[in-house]
């Protein structure tokens, strides 16, 4: 039996008196699309932060394809095939879209130490970056600065940077946040188009898109798993109603 793409066992994180993640376990199989839902403050992004290595948990284990990465620094996790986008855009605003993606490529492919030759001359990286931008429909805007693009375009750039790194497990934190109906449809198609060799874990509040996209759903509240199962199972579960509607 092959190891799950992402396996979390007994994860626990406490900030002072506040428990952010409570004895949380999660198994996501290779190629799966998993949706994380839960009310604000349920601990979804905090979980992403721990998977990414922004801070270490107090207890528990995180494995990527069977490799224990609980205490590895972020860059090592990226090398194991982890990618992530952010809910709040974290782009390099004064650079061109192309350079943003090149920076992503430098992270996984090395070459960030080169002080010889201008960045604009390393054509290999540029071709790859252009491919990644074209994939999200931004090929025409490659040389525009991020500051000159629309919010919707920045959301797609965010996705392009993560995809350019060819991750095996991709964490998407609200990729549809703040988009118009038309832009949502564009991004939805992009997400559908990601090949199945990429495992995706998604946080999203747009249930129309998210429920259709996900294979399985995990409902979190107060940092712990409340319900997990297929779409129908989670929707039918009385505990789901309880979390969202109160008693």
């Amino acid at each position: 039996m092959t190891a799950p793409a992402l396996e979390i066992i007994g994860l626990h994180k406490q900030f002072g008196g506040l428990v952010a993640t409570r004895n949380l376990s999660l198994r996501v199989m290779a190629g799966e699309r998993r949706l994380l839902i839960g009310p604000n403050g349920a601990g979804k992004t905090t979980l992403f932060n721990q998977i990414a290595g922004d801070f270490l948990p107090n207890a528990g284990t995180i494995r990527l394809f069977g490799t224990d990465m609980t205490t590895l620094p972020t860059k090592a996790r990226v090398r194991l095939g982890l990618g992530r986008t952010y809910q709040v855009l974290t782009l390099f605003p004064n650079d061109t879209l192309l350079h943003n993606v090149v920076l992503a490529l430098l992270g996984t492919q090395g070459g960030g130490w080169s002080v010889w030759g201008g960045l604009s001359r390393s054509t290999g990286l540029h071709d790859q970056a252009l491919v990644a931008l074209t994939r999200v429909g931004l090929g025409h805007a490659a040389n525009r600065r991020v500051a000159e693009t629309s919010y919707g375009e920045r959301r797609r750039l965010e996705l392009a940077m993560a995809l350019a790194q060819s991750p095996k497990v991709l964490l998407l934190d609200e990729p549809l946040a703040g988009l118009s109906a038309e832009e949502r449809e564009t991004v939805r198609l992009l997400l559908e188009g990601i090949p199945r060799d990429v495992t995706i874990i998604l946080i999203e509040h747009d249930m129309d898109v998210a429920l259709a996209f996900a294979d399985r759903i995990t409902l979190l509240n107060f940092g712990e798993v409340i319900v997990e199962g297929t779409r129908a199972e989670v929707i039918a579960d009385p505990r789901t109603r309880e979390v969202y509607l109160g008693h």
């Binding site: 290595g53 992270g107 996984t108 960045l119």
Partner: protein, 312 residues
């Protein structure tokens, strides 16, 4: 107004070459030389401030320490000038490699405080370890040496050497700015967390930036010693670090021209003011407050914005 880089550097070189002819006498050439030495120091500090986004208040270490090293090695130890200069550069750069390990345990305000404290350590050594450093009296050089066959004693040849060093620094930093490493360094400034998530080693990128800044600061330090033929704890003091910082902030951090412009202006003000009154520190403090409050981005970006608005 997009200047081709080659043309830009040619213009700078031409200006530097014409300066000795345009200035009335050796006195002014001497002041111009001081300004260019500080321009190199300000450029080196701008690698930290402008590129890496880390404000250091201890950059005088890389001015004063190599300066002390040159003076001590040539005078006290009797070494020939060339090895002294090389070893001084090495000492400055290695100190940056050591201090970087400590200062980069923090970022932001923590980084600023640690660099300040480390700067004070070096100042303390220079001031108190009288046997080695001469204490408050400092170390004096008997004159400028002959280096690589060039007699640096007269103002003109020394000016030429400093000008060439400044040009070299400008070209190197321009290159750094547009290299992959430069892009990564700016990335760690704008989005350190994202950089980590993209697989970069943020700490190592910053550390490399810190050491490079230390090296170019040491170049300024060696030239400083040869220029003034004298070094005292003042070269390592907090006001000296602050002066360098003010040059960068005044001229405009993150630009090549900014630190040079800032260094020229501050050196000019200092020279003029100190010949009339000795309230230089008050003026330095006041300039700090005014620049930071009213012109936070500095002169060069400010003028550039104005220029673009006039053309539009």
């Amino acid at each position: 107004m997009k200047l081709s880089p080659i043309l830009g550097f040619a213009l700078v070189a031409l200006t530097l070459a014409c300066l000795p002819v345009l200035l009335p006498d050796g006195f002014y050439l001497g002041i111009a030389t001081h300004a260019l030495v500080f321009a190199i120091l300000a450029l080196s500090l701008d690698i930290l401030i402008g590129q890496a986004g880390m404000t250091s208040l201890g950059h005088a270490v890389y001015l004063g320490l190599p300066a002390y090293a040159v003076a001590w090695l040539t005078v006290q130890a009797g070494w020939p000038p060339l090895p002294s200069v090389i070893v001084a550069l090495l000492i400055g750069t290695l100190t940056a490699a050591l201090f970087g390990l400590l200062a980069l345990r923090a970022s932001g305000l923590g980084f600023l405080m640690i660099t300040l404290a480390l700067g004070q350590v070096m100042w303390g050594v220079a001031y108190r370890w009288v046997a080695l450093t001469g204490g408050d009296n400092g170390l004096r050089m008997p004159g400028r040496p002959v280096l690589l066959g060039i007699d640096l004693q007269a103002p003109l040849p020394f000016y030429a050497v400093v000008a060439v060093c400044l040009l070299a620094a400008l070209i190197c930093l321009w290159h750094l700015d547009r290299s992959a490493f430069g892009a990564c360094l700016r990335g760690t400034r704008d989005q350190p967390r994202r950089m980590r998530m993209l697989g970069h080693d943020v700490w190592r990128i910053r550390y490399a930036g810190f050491v490079i800044a230390g090296f170019w600061g040491s170049v300024a330090g060696v030239l400083y010693c040869l220029d003034y033929q004298y070094v005292s704890p003042q070269a390592l003091s907090l006001p000296q670090s602050a002066e360098a910082l003010l040059m960068v902030v005044l001229g405009g951090a993150g630009t090549l021209a900014g630190p040079v412009v800032g260094a020229v202006i501050i050196t000019a003000i200092k020279t003029v003011v100190s010949s009339y009154v000795d309230r230089w520190y008050s003026l330095l403090g006041l300039t700090f407050i005014v620049v930071v409050s009213l012109m936070p981005r500095g002169l060069v970006p400010g003028v550039r914005d104005l220029w673009e608005r006039l053309r539009a």
